[in-house]
Structure formats: structure tokens, C-alpha cells
Symmetry: C2
Subunit: 331 residues, 2 copies
């Protein structure tokens, strides 16, 4: 892979800047080359404040990142921010969005291998007119998608896909549909083949209810909604299995039997992966016409600017994006 | 501790018998002494069929178990069954119930240290007139409780308590109340002090919704139902903390901050503990006037009689029951 990865600024008052600086300091460990779409001056101020020896070099084109990276952190300037750690500036919304838009432009133009995004602060973005539930939906719109993209969390030995995501549990139960499960399963199976080198992916599909509903003794949704989705996926040639009891599908022996777990709601997916791999899990967006990963944490204002945020998840996101780009095949 | 543990038969077509035989064979590892309330002949047949050298000795009183245990598996006869592995007999319902009733009588009379129960087959019991959702509720009735007992799952380094248990997810959301959470929290805190030697237990209380509801952006229940329960528990002197985002409270560092996690529904509690400790987790019933534990698996008809069922969870249940009895203090 000769193309660099495009890393967005994210909320400049959060930990994105310092985890990027720390990742660059650890670039010796085979970290793929990346560049930031950010304000170079704020990164210089941040490195100074932390006492970290990170030379920042402004670049005009993504291609310059590859030759620059070993000696300095490459940054494509997108404007200026006055935000300080844990002190977001409401006017930064437009800047944060511009960073994402430029990264997508770069990757769609074939000048970046993938987009890696730092965490954003939705409150700030809403003031800038942002009207999406999150990053993922915004990227779907930038890519002109009709169907929403699918979120996957990938850890060392578990991949999970929540079919419903940011909904109250009550609303997730009400919203769940066969169509949503089929869409998520089809997108996941295709992405596992296309970007993860898995020729015949196996999907484990969790039941919604305890014990997968115990033959309707504990709710009908697993019979009425989940099972028909599995049948439909199998009809499309996807090796989907279930509905499985969610509590017994995530231990080590069970995990070896599938490539990704399709989960019905947020915590059913995120509890097992964050329990097993809190710092190393990566958020991957499937269904976009480009590769996008992101660290699986938020802006973490409570520790921003202290230099103690762990760069593990960002580094894992960069590595996974590069791996996906290297393994990508058309189809 | 000089009193033996009373182990119930459970469903005789399930794996309870063979895991008890295997546990006895491994008694060298400091396993506490126990006796079965069972049909001695069916255990002899089972040991013969498996080719396991387990001498079975009939006893008339629990006290005889202590002197018998090192040389033979002590069994108090409760009747005869013709069930074979994976072939339950509908008429066994009364026998299964009698085993549980006798065990409770023994422990309440001060002749056994604790009750450990093997898994039951509710279909068989319902034919015998059983009208309880499960074991736990039946034990509550035998003990004359007004409030339902509380189920705790205890693993190597995590204890979880589901506030709602065997309900469809939709019904669990609808049933959740401040009163239920307070009851579960108070019983749990008291039991941690009384049986686990934890003087000032800390309870981590999970939110119902993703991100614990994100300030009502993802559902109001965490503000309207969960938070008032935490306030009430704190008012009663229980160190309850939360509502916490369920996905970030079960990783190793987070687990070190509390003694038990109070969870709002079945899979929120059982996913993390079974992901971390599939074979070693033990089911503990809190709020009864005696100690009761059980292995955290079912009858497993699919592998019954094959001699491959792992006795780990039964052995963990026996050990934990003995530990709780040894640490028990009045109060």
C-alpha cells in the first residue's frame, strides 16, 4: 500500500489530537502512514504543552504524507481553532465537518487509502447545522447512500454488528424488523469477503430475547422477526446461523465458530466486545464506497490535554484500515 | 465446616448425575463434602455405563455423608426413576420436587450447610403440578418468603444480579420499577456482607438504555426509574453507583471498582459473565434463609450420558456454597 490514511481532526477539545501525536511517536511499531486534516498550529501548541517531541509538517497534498511521515507528523490544514483541551468552541462545528468532508474527498479521489475518524462532539455539530444522529450517517450522506451504513466493532477475536444502534432499548425492540436484519447481514457478509479476506463468512445471529425467546415462552420476536431474516439471508447465500441465545455465544469456544455476530441492539453487541477488548476495539463502517474506521471511544473531555489518553484504539483503527485496504479486492 | 452440602438430583435424564459422579472423582482437589438426594440405583447404573469407578453408598441421615464421602459417594434415597440419559420420564416430576424439598428440610433443620441444586426440566415439573417460573421461586415458597429471592451469578472476578430475569426483553423494559431495583440492591448488599465477607460492598448499577440513556437522549427510564432507586439505596446506606453505561462497566479495570453489578435485564447480566467465565460461573440465590447455589447450565440433553459434560460449574457451585457457609456471620 503506497497511499496514506486520512485521519480527521474530530472535536479539537477532545483527546483526538493527543492520541494522534502519541500514535505518531509510536510509529516504529509498523504503524501505517497517515496524515491529519487539522489545524497544524493547535497540534504544535498541544505537543509543546505536553512536552512531546512531535515535529508537525504542513502538507498540501495527501501524497506528500508518505515521504513526510517518518520525520514529521503530516497535516493538511483545514482552518484554525481556538479550542483548548476540554474547552470546546461552538464555532468549531464547521471546521470539524470540513475535516470529515476533505477526508472523504481525498479517499474518493483515490489519494488516500481509507478514512479514519477521531471522535466528535455532537452538541457542537448540531449548532453548526448538523442533522445526523452521528458520524456514520453523515458519511453515508456524503457517499450518496440510499440505505444507512452498518456499524461493526472489530476486536482481537470478536466482530459484532448491532442491527439497531442509538435507540432507547424500548424503541430498539419496537424498531427491529426483518428487513433491517437482512440488510445488516448482507452488508456484513459482503464486507467480510471484500475487505477481510474471508471467502465464506459465517454470521452468528443473536436472538432478541433471553434464551433466544425459548420457543416463544420469552417473547415472539425471535420467531416472527429474527428467524425469517436468517432464512432470507440463507436464501441469498449468506451462511447466517441462529437465532442464538445471546448469553452463550460470546465465550472463547463459541467465538471460534463464526466471523461476526449480528446483534439486535447496542448493548447486546457492545457489552461483549468492550468486556473482552476495551482498548483495542475498532469501529468499522460497512456499506460505504470507501474504508472507514475509528477508535471506539469518545472525546473524553475528562482526561483531555493530560497526555494520559491511551492511543491503543486509534492505532488499532489505523492498522485495521490499512489491513482492509491491503486485502481489498473488487467484487 | 463439619456439615455436608445437600445436592439435589435435578432432572435425572440430564447431566446432573454424571457431573456429580465426576465431581466426586475429583474430590482430591479440596472439594467440600456433599451428598445427593437421589435414586442410588440410577447413579450406580450411570457409573457402570460410563465405566467410572464411583462406589455409591446409601445413607439415612446427612451427618453420615461426612464420614462416608472420602470412600464413596453418599446418597440419601428419595425414590426410583426409570429415566435414561436424554430420555426424561414425565412421572419423575414428583421425585424431582421431593429431592429439592428434602434438601431444604435438611438445611433448615441444621443438618446440611447449604443446598446445591442440579438443573431441572420445567416441562416435566409442570406436568407434576409445578406452577413456578423456576427453581428459585419454588425455593422462595418453600422458605415462606413474601418477596421473590434474588438471583446472582458469581464468576471468578465478576458478580452480576439481573433485576428482571426470565421475561421477554419488551416485557422486562415494561416491568422494571424502582421498587424492584431497590429490593434487588438491598438483598445483594446484605448478602455480600453476610456470606462473602465484604464489609462495605459497592454496587455498580447498569443503566437500562445504551450509554445509560445519555441524559434522556436515549430513553427516560434511567432518569425516571434507575436513578431514584440508586438514591433510595444510598439513603439506606448501600454504596450503589450509577446508572452506568452497561458497555463500559465490565472490562477488567472497571470490574475492580465494585463487588457486584446490578443489571436491568437477563442478557445485560449474563452476557458479560458467560463471556468471561463460561464454565466457572455459579448461580447463587440471595434472600433465602439458607445458602443455595447451583451450576450455571441446564440439563444439556444433547450431551447427557456421554460422560463429556464438564463438572467445572457444579464443582464451583459446591465450593462457593461451602465458602459462603464458612464465612457466614449473623446479622
Amino acid at each position: 500500500m503506497t497511499l496514506p490514511l486520512a485521519l480527521t481532526m474530530g472535536e479539537p477539545a477532545g483527546i483526538g489530537g493527543e492520541t494522534a501525536l502519541m500514535a505518531w511517536l509510536r510509529r516504529g511499531d509498523g504503524l501505517p502512514r497517515f496524515y491529519l486534516l487539522d489545524d497544524p498550529d493547535r497540534l504544535i501548541r498541544l505537543a509543546d504543552a505536553l512536552g512531546w517531541a512531535v515535529p508537525v509538517r504542513t502538507i498540501a497534498r495527501p501524497q506528500q504524507a508518505v515521504e513526510t511521515f517518518d520525520a514529521a507528523l503530516p497535516v493538511m490544514p483545514i482552518g484554525r481553532t481556538t479550542a483548548a483541551p476540554a474547552r470546546p468552541v461552538l464555532a468549531d462545528g464547521a471546521l470539524v465537518l470540513r475535516s470529515i468532508e476533505r477526508a472523504v474527498e481525498n479517499v474518493l479521489a483515490g489519494n488516500a487509502a481509507a478514512v479514519v475518524t477521531n471522535p466528535i462532539n455532537k452538541d457542537v455539530l448540531y449548532r453548526a447545522g448538523f442533522r445526523h444522529p452521528g458520524h456514520t450517517e453523515f458519511l453515508g450522506e456524503l457517499a450518496g447512500l440510499q440505505e444507512p451504513p452498518i456499524m461493526m466493532l472489530a476486536g482481537r477475536d470478536l466482530r459484532v454488528v448491532p442491527v439497531t444502534v442509538h435507540l432507547a432499548l424500548r424503541d430498539a425492540v419496537a424498531a427491529l424488523s426483518t428487513r433491517m436484519i437482512v440488510h445488516a447481514g448482507a452488508v456484513t457478509a459482503k464486507a467480510l469477503g471484500r475487505y477481510f479476506g474471508i471467502k465464506a463468512p459465517v454470521l452468528a445471529v443473536a436472538g432478541l430475547n433471553p434464551h433466544a425467546g425459548e420457543n416463544a415462552g420469552l417473547g415472539r420476536e425471535d420467531i416472527d422477526i429474527v428467524a425469517p431474516a436468517i432464512a432470507e439471508l440463507r436464501g441469498e447465500g449468506v451462511d447466517a446461523r441462529g437465532p442464538l441465545a445471546a448469553d452463550t455465544m460470546f465465550h472463547a469456544a463459541a467465538r471460534r465458530g463464526y466471523d461476526a455476530a449480528l446483534c439486535m441492539y447496542h448493548d447486546q453487541a457492545l457489552i461483549p466486545i468492550k468486556t473482552l477488548d476495551f482498548d483495542g476495539a475498532v469501529n468499522v463502517t460497512l456499506g460505504l464506497p470507501f474504508i472507514r474506521t475509528s477508535p471506539d471511544h469518545g472525546t473524553a473531555f475528562d482526561i483531555a490535554g493530560k497526555g494520559i489518553a491511551r492511543p491503543d484504539s486509534l492505532m488499532a483503527a489505523l492498522r485495521l484500515a490499512a489491513d482492509m485496504a491491503a486485502r481489498r479486492h473488487p467484487g
